[in-house]
């Protein structure tokens, strides 16, 4: 399998590096939720526009946002 983003060897959707970015993204959402009232999609948008966000995180966030917008996921709880 190849990583959806960079084409590196991958065991699932993403390669090791993008998987790590994705894991961080999930983990940090917990901290964001504790800090303020924010939905998963709002969170992804915030992260995308933040200049401190890592490049690979942005690449993952862009894909996750696109897919969750497509499905118009009713609640972020299911996604996480």
């Amino acid at each position: 399998m190849k990583c959806e983003i960079c084409g590196r060897r991958a065991e699932s959707r993403f390669c090791e590096l993008h998987k790590r970015a994705q894991e961080n993204l999930r983990e940090k959402y917990e901290e964001w939720k504790r800090a303020m009232d924010i939905t998963w999609e709002e969170y992804l948008r915030e992260v995308l526009k933040n200049p401190l966000t890592g490049l690979w995180v942005k690449e993952v966030a862009r894909i996750l946002l696109a897919s969750s917008e497509e499905k118009e996921a009713p609640s972020m709880q299911e996604k996480v």
Partner: protein, 694 residues
């Protein structure tokens, strides 16, 4: 007269000229040339001195098998550089000239830099160019090129050259060559066999682990997710002026909490509950060794470590400072503190400062812990420049002079004040700081980074008006990228490389295209080279292994280890690794070729496509019109037709920075005779509007 002819071998031409002048007793020094190579004739004690210099290394380690497709290779020899290296034709004349002149001499004296490289240069030249004179040559040892010290060093010559230091140096060159050539050949061949294209991929014994530090950092930065936090400040009015007090918690993790503090404190009266005054002594800095000089020069002037080391080398060759490639932070009394200060006082800018120090009874430098068996810390010789120094030279010399004086200064005393203010049950702090006694800072003033923050007279129980309370939105930050200076410090801390090689290794990473920028970013290729080495032979880029070898080589210098044993062990360690690389050549070749292809693509990639959001914008060339333009990678998938025109002249480089006005990625355009300029290719960008109207 039965004078003898003595051949003195220096490291650099400038040093030879200075040495000849210092030692000459009768008449004038004669500057002569043989095959275009300058040398000097002087006389002393009735003997004829022939002073000539090498040109850095004249010999180098080379593999017996030259074919670059063949590995492993373990047979190496010392070859004249002109035979095996490109662009080193100069060394031929030099070797021939030294060879010829050595035939007329009866005695030999080595006067290269007193360190590993100096010993190695001396040993190889005496052995190979002078026909085995390494065993009978004597050795001059000195740390400055002042006439005085050179004469003393000539009078008290050491009976022979430092063989164990040369052995350590030769061992380093050999081990580095065995690793560098084999690993680079393995990777280059693998890529070539897979793709049919030849691209040199290099790695080295120290280069690999260094690149790995950068890759690790790059991973942390690229997978970083900032999290929000808040700070709260109260603007306090005291006697008509406004002061900023910080909330006691430096960071507040919950927005609601921050809001409620702001709400509770706004418009209230605060009470000063406690005033804490603390005095701290700040000791003078320690004398410069090379790496602390490099750090300071980077912090103050943004000079890269290599630049600093080159400038310092020039100052040394002009006898203005002592030998800079030292790791010592000691200044032994034998260098003559007073003499140096008296000499420096001839420079008007230093007159008051030096006389201040000279009036004191005892001069005791605040030495640091690091030692170097060969040289003291870097210090000014007291000589004043014989010519107008360039700006960077003058700055570095001034820095070294002032540091030298500061080292003898008294501790500075600084006072910090912390005022606690209660506002509606919440505590805020007002902070002030001030230098009470300058001490050593007087000498080092232009380079001391300290700003006084003064507070008004306050007393416990005073009431103050809270003008405003402000919430500030913040985010956690990723770890900083390394810069050349912090990377050098990291290498030093991890014990890899030497003071003479670290700066060069960093430059090599840049020139190979593995890293770029002052705030260092790793390229695709650099990233993958480390990933591949890490995947197939992690032991090769392990810091422990590199450090261990480094320690063994130091032991050779002190005589407790032998070159054969160290080289034997290194080869034993490398052999199975190379076998493994060979067995998996196809896989590795595939991965590397893929990476090279991506690296080429990366060079042309401008950034994310702002129109479709998923494609990438790349610099392309039209097959039909041959013109350059920017297009989206999704064009090939038929999804996005975005394209923008580009200037057709000059070279283009994606800047990896976004336009401040519209947020689109910028491109740097360089063309001959013009300053590089940044292009925002967004036709709707406000910057265009402005230039259209004007």
């Amino acid at each position: 007269m039965d004078g003898r002819t003595i051949l003195i071998l220096c490291e650099k031409p400038d040093a030879a000229a200075r040495l000849a002048k210092a030692l000459n007793e009768a008449g004038k020094v004669r500057e002569r040339k043989l095959k275009g190579v300058p040398y000097y004739e002087a006389s002393r004690d009735g003997n004829k001195l022939i002073v000539i210099s090498a040109l850095g290394h004249l010999y180098t380690i080379a593999p017996k098998i030259e074919d670059r497709d063949v590995y492993p290779v373990f047979d190496f020899y010392w070859a004249p550089r002109y035979e095996v290296e490109r662009n080193s034709g100069q060394t031929r004349k030099w070797i021939e000239a030294i060879s010829r002149l050595s035939k007329d001499a009866q005695e030999y004296v080595l006067a290269t830099d007193y360190d590993i490289e100096g010993a190695t240069i001396g040993y190889t030249v005496l052995k190979y160019a002078c026909g085995g004179k390494d065993t009978e040559a004597k050795r001059m040892k000195f740390s400055t090129l002042t006439a005085d010290e050179l004469r003393k060093s000539y009078e008290k010559m050491l009976p022979h050259i430092e063989f164990s230091t040369a052995e350590a140096g030769m061992c380093r060159h050999l081990v580095d060559a065995i690793y560098g050539i084999n690993l680079s050949r393995a990777m280059t061949t693998a890529a070539k066999r897979w793709s049919g294209k030849y691209t040199t991929i290099s790695t080295g014994r120290v280069q690999g682990p260094t690149l790995k530090f950068l890759v690790e950092r790059e991973k942390e930065i690229n997978t970083f997710v900032p999290t929000p936090y808040w700070t709260v400040k109260a603007l306090i009015e005291i006697g008509g002026s406004t002061y900023e007090a910080e909330y006691e918690k430096k960071s507040i993790g919950i927005l609601e909490e921050a809001n409620s503090i702001v709400h509770a404190c706004a418009g209230k009266i605060g009470t000063i509950t406690k005033i804490d005054v603390r005095k701290t002594r700040q000791n003078p800095p320690t004398p410069f060794d090379l790496s602390s000089l490099q750090t300071e020069a980077y912090g103050l002037f943004r000079y890269t470590p290599r630049r600093t080391s080159n400038i310092a080398e020039r100052l040394y060759l002009e006898a203005l400072i002592s030998y800079p490639r030292t790791s010592s932070q000691k200044l032994p009394p034998a260098i003559g503190y007073r003499g140096i200060l008296e000499a420096l006082s001839r420079q008007p800018a230093y007159k008051d400062l030096t006389s201040d120090l000279l009036e004191r009874g005892d001069l005791v430098p605040n030495e640091g812990p690091k030692r170097d068996p060969a040289h003291p810390a870097i210090y000014p010789t007291g000589n004043l420049p014989e010519r107008t120094l360039s700006d960077p030279e003058r700055r570095l010399w001034d820095l070294i002079v002032r540091r030298f004086m500061a080292v003898f200064g008294e501790p500075a005393v600084r006072q910090s004040v912390k005022v606690a203010i209660e506002i509606d049950g919440h505590r805020f702090y007002l902070r002030g700081r001030q230098i009470l006694k300058e001490g050593w800072m007087r000498f080092y003033k232009p380079y001391v980074r300290f700003e006084d923050v003064l507070l008004p007279q306050l007393e416990e129980g005073d009431e103050v008006r809270v003008k405003r309370v402000i919430r500030e939105d913040k985010f956690t930050k990723p770890p900083p990228r390394y810069n050349p200076s912090s990377l050098l410090k990291k290498m030093e801390k991890e014990g890899i490389g030497t003071k003479a090689t670290r700066a060069d290794i960093i430059e090599t990473l840049y020139s190979r295209g593995y890293i770029s920028g002052e705030s260092i970013a790793v390229s695709y290729l650099g990233f993958d080279v480390v990933e591949i080495l890490d995947g197939y032979c992690p032991q090769i880029i392990s810091v422990e292994f590199t450090r261990d070898l480094e320690e063994k080589m130091e032991m050779i210098q002190s005589g407790s280890e032998k070159m054969e044993r160290v080289v034997g062990k290194a080869v034993e360690y490398l052999k199975p690794v190379l076998e493994e690389l060979k067995n998996r050549e196809r896989e590795i070749g595939k991965a590397l070729s893929e990476s090279i292809r991506k690296a080429r693509m990366e060079e042309r990639t401008v950034g994310q496509c702002p129109v479709c959001g998923t494609g990438k914008l790349v610099i392309l060339r039209s097959r039909r019109t041959k013109k350059r333009f920017i297009g989206c990678t999704n064009f090939f998938e038929g999804i996005c037709k975005t394209s923008f025109p580009l200037p057709q002249k000059g070279s283009l480089k994606p800047l990896r920075k976004d336009c401040k006005l519209c947020g689109w990625p910028l491109i740097q355009v360089r063309s001959r005779g013009r300053r590089p300029w940044n292009l925002c290719f967004n036709p709707e960008c406000p910057s265009k509007e402005r230039s259209k109207r004007s």
